[in-house]
Amino acid sequence: MILALQLSHFSAAFLFALFSSIVFGICFRNNTREMVRYGAYCFAVFIVGMWIAGWVMWIIHH
């Protein structure tokens, strides 16, 4: 490809979290309500984990 899509770290991680959470929610739970809850939980864990990891890396760097 000539022009590559250049996403920021956060945008790439956000998309990764979004798509992964949808699949996890659908595949690892049995009914619709549980799927939505588990998908939202996975998404929150991804985002919060990324935020914490970002600050940990900032602290190590400084």
Binding site: A4, V23, F24
Partner: protein
Amino acid sequence: MADTQTSTPPSQTRAVAAPTLTAMSVVAPAVGWLIPGAGHLIQKRWLRGLLLMISVVAMFAFGLAMDGKIYQSNTGDLLDILGFISDLGAGALYILGRMLDWGGNAIYIATADYGTKFIAVAGLLNIISAVDAYHIAIGKKQ
């Protein structure tokens, strides 16, 4: 000595029995692997199938758009073999990508490495969804 095997209730025997092999239990995961989400669609799980299809295809497409690499089968490097197995999980997307020579460039920007991971994870997520289609087909899941 009492025979413990004969005292097992029939309901418990049924609970541990192996799932019956039906045509759908073979076709659903195979179709689900080949076309992301199709294993759910052929079992009339329309919304789930559509969401799985969008997620896997979008992830694969974003990976390609970020100039990610699609692994080949015969490089001999262990990490490349693992990458190949992950990519192969995307089914027809992988086959199409190899046929059209997508994702063959050397990685020269940071986002291209993200793209490579997006492609690999799209394949792994598709394997999870194909297994889920199998579970629906054998009645283990609604």
